[in-house]
């Protein structure tokens, strides 16, 4: 009894398998973990390696007009472009603080472009709109109030689209009635000057590479790979491990209870 204890030390060590079966199991496990790790983390590292910060088109437009907007030397066309970039920013899910700053900039720019007459007309429309919105909270006939809000919105969009050179059916033009305000917003020009370029940098520059720009069944490739392919791979790994180990058990005639 004592002898047996000394001869056999019953060591279990993943890296030093004591039987042929354990050795083969170890090799399979190591191979699978390598495939698993490379597929998950290796791909993200590759993604990171190739990525380059790439600005959206609207960011390039913004950069080209921003200097002139600040100095007040912008041409009407440049102002229109500037407004369209602001609308693009407001269309994204940006946070509340950033939204007020972009909205203030939008208000300043739009009112600057309008003639005196248009300005008064717009303020009048906007006042009516906010009255309707206040009514919506109280009214019992929400549907009809909503419809009149929609009509007013469309009227504002239609009128401004012509002046601002926007497509009136576009989602950006439709943002106008929500962010224009009859009373000036309490954001200083100074603050807009400081904060707006930061907002544009934050939301309009993205990490892109051929991996993100290639399409695969309409997905951006990297998105499809991570969201769908990796899960398929996990399933395949699990499936093949089960086949392997069942075969191995048969080979070494190991009975599992």
């Amino acid at each position: 009894m004592k002898e047996e204890k000394q001869n056999k030390n019953y060591s279990t060590n993943f890296f030093k398998p004591s039987s042929e079966f354990a050795r083969r199991n170890r090799n399979i496990v190591i191979a699978f973990i390598i495939i698993w790790a490379v597929a998950v983390f290796g791909f993200q590292i590759v993604l990171k390696f190739f990525e380059k910060p790439k600005p959206e088109h609207q960011k390039i437009v913004f950069d080209s007009v921003w200097q002139n907007i600040q100095s007040g030397a912008a041409t009407p066309a440049e102002k229109q472009q500037y407004i369209s970039t602001l609308l693009s920013a407001l269309g994204k899910s940006i946070n509340k603080k950033e939204k007020t700053i972009a909205a203030a900039a939008l208000n300043n720019a739009v009112f600057e472009i309008l003639s005196e007459e248009d300005k008064i007309a717009l303020i009048d429309e906007l006042n009516k709109l906010s009255a309707l919105r206040a009514e919506l909270q109280k009214s019992s006939d929400k549907i009809s109030v909503r419809n009149s809000i929609r009509e007013k919105n469309n009227a504002v969009v239609k009128k401004l689209s012509v002046i601002l050179n926007l497509n009136e059916n576009s989602v950006s033009a439709q943002l106008l009635p929500y962010y224009l305000s009859a009373t000036p917003l309490e954001i200083s020009v100074e603050e807009i000057k400081n904060e707006l370029p930061k907002i544009m940098d934050k939301y309009f520059i993205h990490n892109r590479s051929f991996l993100t720009d290639t399409k695969f069944i309409n997905f951006p490739f990297h998105y499809w790979y991570t969201a769908e392919f990796l899960l398929v791979l996990f399933l395949l790994l699990c499936l093949s491990y089960c086949f392997f180990i069942d075969k191995l058990n048969k080979q070494y005639s190991i009975e599992e209870n």
Binding site: N13, G91, I94, V171, L231, L235
Partner: protein
């Protein structure tokens, strides 16, 4: 005698449960059109009641009386069936609601949760499933106490199990609260309170039933509720709807490139429920990796993903499922099927976020609670209210099945591993049962209180439980199974390191939530954030275990012998 009592007890609880839900339905008034919430929804409430009753009745019909019968029943369940049970056990509010919320809010960063919560199964299968089954214990604390030959370790394991179950439950309760809020149209606090009472009653009833076979049915209902709206959404908005999981690629691309004008189909412009165009300004930040706009970095992606993966392989209630399968080979095959059934949901969750992004693009919609985005998306997409109701009820039952499992696991760790083994070894069975029930109630109340604090998104809260498990239990199982030299001292050292890191992270997390600034706050919260501290905690705990084990004397021969002969079958 005892049994008759149980039956009555169940009956009473069931009646109370139905009464509460009916009482809620009593103040029926018409839901206002185009209102996302804030009104009572009769249809969904009735669906929810029906669903819970079906689960309980199925449980009653399949009731098994004792452990021996249970194993006999267990053998009859096919591999596919036990795969469904694994999936149903796994799919919670975090999968059902939380994941879509992460992608809706943080874009590509949210995919770290999808990959993390599936990739962990590969580790679980190739490193643990079969071996855990061969070790043949019943609970995680049992394994820890036995393998590391220490009563103290068993107690500590039990405490950890309770803590992990607790944290896991907090996220579930916020999900339950949100869905009750949606169905009942009341504020969040009351929703959590009512939801907690209902889930507690449900747990007490299903806990009394013993081990039930209703998990397969639960899985089918949950997955069907989740998938139906996706076919409707892809069909309605003119994408490839045959397989929405493939068809939504175009939706993602539309978000990235922008869809300035709504498409016109059959002469009608595609709109959301408010009548806003189905259009969105170009938002590449939705899909581009670690976008500055989402405020997440490459490191955080990797850390979240890794922490969730090892956490999966260390969660007590997940590991425990492998003890009950009759054959080792079945333990492995059930993982494959389980993962497949889980993937069905995980392939689909991003579709909700993508549609939600476009449907909520107009400022008229306003800011939506991210964690309810699955339901809001279906509403905004004009899916029939009853189908949306089914979806919400599905979310609640996903949370319920997980919560009742966790509460029972926590309570049994308390009554079986702590109370009987340590506090009162002479406890009678009825005394034990009472303690389990009291434990369940105390835990549910405590969880509800924490859930009311709204500490984070569901997926994030649940991620804390994963990191905790990854730092503490995962190293114990990994080394315990694969390295016979690992001893009690090493295990203690590893646990100390794992717990210390968890503690630092959680203290900073709680302090940050209450507005306090601790030394090096920025540094610690970035590198040891509560959602992913296991990325470093687990490796350090493993290292500590190895170093201290090598410095101290070998574990007893019988432990090594058992491990070598029984578990690794030499």
């Amino acid at each position: 005698m005892q049994k008759i009592n149980f039956k009555w007890f169940n009956g009473y609880l069931l009646i109370i449960l139905i009464l509460i839900l009916l009482l809620c339905s009593a103040n029926i008034y018409a839901a206002t059109l185009t209102q996302l919430e804030g009104s009572f929804k009769t249809g969904p409430a009735l669906i929810l009641i029906a669903m819970l009753i079906v689960f309980i009745v199925v449980g009653l019909l399949n009731r098994v009386k004792d452990t021996a019968n249970y194993y006999a029943a267990g053998r009859k369940i096919s591999k596919v069936g036990s795969g469904m049970a694994i999936a149903s056990n796994w799919m919670s509010a975090a999968s059902f609601l939380g994941m879509a919320a992460m992608m809706y809010g943080y874009g590509y960063d949210g995919l770290a949760y999808v990959v993390g919560w599936t990739g962990g199964y590969v580790l679980l299968l190739i490193l643990m499933a079969g071996q855990i089954r061969k070790y043949g214990k019943y609970t995680a604390p049992d394994f820890i106490g036995d393998r590391y030959y220490s009563q103290g370790m068993r107690v500590f394991g039990a405490l950890l199990t309770i803590l992990i179950s607790f944290v896991y439950c907090v996220g579930q309760f916020s999900g339950i609260g949100l869905m009750f809020k949606w169905i009942l149209g009341i504020d969040y606090t009351w929703s959590v309170i009512i939801g907690s009472i209902v889930v507690l009653l449900y747990t007490l009833i299903s806990g009394m039933l013993g081990v039930t076979k209703n998990m397969q049915i639960q899985y089918v209902i949950i997955i069907v509720a989740f998938l139906i709206p996706l076919f409707i959404l892809t069909y309605k908005y003119d994408y490839f709807w045959g397989i929405p999981q493939l068809g939504y690629g175009k939706v993602v691309s539309d978000i990235v490139e922008g869809k300035e004008e709504a498409k016109v189909v059959n002469g009608e412009k595609l709109t959301n429920a408010y009548g806003n165009d189905f259009a969105i300004t170009a938002s590449p930040e939705y899909a581009m990796p670690w976008a500055k706009a989402a405020g997440r970095t490459f490191f955080q992606w990797i850390a979240v993903c890794f922490s969730l993966m090892i956490g999966t392989a260390g969660l007590p209630h997940v590991i425990q499922r492998f003890y009950v399968v009759p054959k080792t080979s079945d333990a492995r095959w059930s993982v494959v099927w389980g993962l497949f059934f889980i993937c069905l949901l995980y392939w689909s969750a991003p579709i909700y976020s993508a549609f939600g992004k476009i449907l909520s693009a107009n400022p008229e919609v306003g800011t939506l609670a991210k964690d309810a985005i699955v339901v809001y998306t279906s509403q905004l997409g004009k899916v029939h209210p009853l189908i949306v109701g089914l979806l919400a009820a599905g979310a609640i039952s996903a949370a319920f099945s997980t919560v009742s499992g966790l509460l029972i696991a926590g309570a049994s760790a308390f009554s079986h591993d702590l109370y009987v083994k340590v506090i009162n070894p002479h406890a009678t069975p009825s005394n034990q049962l009472l303690m389990a029930r009291v434990g369940t109630i105390i835990m549910a109340v405590a969880v509800a209180i924490v859930a009311l604090m709204e500490l984070g998104l569901i997926a994030q809260l649940v991620a804390i439980a994963f990191s905790l498990a990854g730092c503490t239990i995962f190293p114990l199982f990994l080394l315990g199974i694969w390295w016979g030299r690992s001893n009690k001292q090493g295990a203690i050292a590893g646990l100390i390191v794992g717990c210390l890191i968890s503690l630092i992270s959680l203290v900073y997390f709680v302090a940050g939530k209450s507005g306090a600034i601790l030394p090096a706050h920025q540094f610690i919260t970035y590198w040891l954030d509560a959602w992913y501290f296991a990325w470093i905690g687990a490796p350090l705990a493993i290292l500590a275990n190895i170093v201290v084990s090598l410095m101290t004397k070998e574990p007893p021969l019988e432990i090594k012998k058992f491990l070598a002969e029984q578990v690794h079958g030499v």
